[in-house]
Amino acid sequence: MNEPTPPRKSILTDASNLGLSRLLEPVDEEIVWCEDDFPALFEHLLGARIGLELDDPTLATRHETIQHCLVSPQREEGLLLAIKKYAVANMSDPGGSLPKPLAKALFLASIASSRLAGFRGFSRLSDVEFQQGGHWCLAQTWVPASVRELVRDALRHSSNEPGRVHP
């Protein structure tokens, strides 16, 4: 047997000891992104084509962005429902694409949009629940201005409607 050959040079340098234990941590699919990523992630989500992000074959040919679907004056109930369904799936699925808080904000944004469009029966969320959710959404610093405005308008609209019960 030949004498052993010297080992190749390590990728890990001397100065690289402190965070190494992180590499041995089990894969937690719920912690793919940290909260610092949320603003950029949400902006990216809003700018993504609905057919691409939602991975729904029936929407494959739709090129509208999610932002457009939420705020366009000509909202389509079907698209908003698809966004809501996607958000709900991500809120409950441990291996979902979105962090849960983002999914929750998207869920509330879809309901806010449907309320402004007057789509009846879009959600089973009561006014009180929507208002609580809406205020939670406005309190999140990472929620983009366009979604804040949408939620704020829907909250205002909701409280101005005659016959509404206010908390």
Binding site: N17, S21, L24, V27, L98
Partner: protein, 249 residues
């Protein structure tokens, strides 16, 4: 003429169905002097042993290489250490460390007397004085580093082989780089711009796939000396604890 038996064939043929752990490999190396098994074990231990000599024993790299070379030839390639191994007496790597510690002490003290050359003295008390417990931890640390190093290299090679530079890039920038530099990962936008990602779903899929691939590479490395999923996980947990302990020092 006796047909040459490879270590893997020998392990599969083990009559008592002993799992192909480090111990079965050690057994093959010790009892039969199977060269392939010895080579496997030497290759597995060499990086951590060298780093331990350089970092913990504070030997100059060239001297560490010389000491290690002498140790490997004298104690491992010869099969001596494998014959001394006893599963009941603890981890094999503790035995190797103790042997190397004693071997290097003897060798270096001889060197200080005869400065012209390294003189290997036969019959030094390889197993006599045990390494201090902190030396065990330091060696486990080097072991963990070598293991991670191999897993990282395996992942990089697999990504290159499969044309998945995107997975390597995601792993390098979001997981490996921050871990090595102990810093938070770069902003999400950087990743999106660098890889031309069109939607968060793409970014998440890449991230999750990359992390799973690394986990698999890591488990494959550990499975070279531990077999059952429990053993593998236990070893990873122990090494993580060692790395965490080093961080705290």
């Amino acid at each position: 003429m006796r047909p040459q038996t490879t270590s893997s064939q020998k392990l599969k043929a083990d009559p008592i169905g002993f799992p192909s752990t480090r111990w079965s490999l050690v057994g093959v190396a010790g009892q039969d002097r199977c060269q392939e098994a010895i080579s496997d074990l030497v290759a597995m231990y060499m990086p951590a042993l060298r780093n331990w000599l350089v970092r913990s024993k504070r030997l100059e790299p060239q001297l560490a290489d010389d000491v290690l070379q002498a140790f490997l030839v004298d104690k491992m390639v010869s099969g001596y250490l494998f014959r001394m191994a006893d599963r009941q007496r603890g981890k094999f790597r503790s035995l190797v460390l103790r042997a190397l510690g004693n071997f290097s002490n003897t060798l270096l003290s001889n060197l200080s007397r005869d400065k012209s050359r390294l003189v290997v003295v036969e019959n030094e008390d390889v197993l006599g004085v045990g390494a201090a417990p902190e030396q065990d931890v330091l060696f486990d640390f080097e072991w963990a580093r070598a293991l991670l190093d191999n897993a990282i290299l395996a992942m990089e090679s697999e990504c290159a082989r499969k044309g998945r530079s995107d997975l390597w890039e995601v792993f390098r920038s979001r997981v490996l780089g921050p871990a090595l530099e102990d810093k938070p990962p770069p902003p999400y936008e950087d990743l999106v711009l660098r890889l031309g990602l069109r939607a968060p779903r793409e970014a998440v899929n890449l991230m999750v796939t990359a992390r799973r691939m690394f986990q698999r590479c890591l488990e494959t490395e550990v499975s070279r000396y531990a077999t059952s999923p429990n053993e593998i996980q236990e070893e990873i947990n122990q090494l993580q604890a060692v790395l965490g302990r080093m961080r705290a020092l």
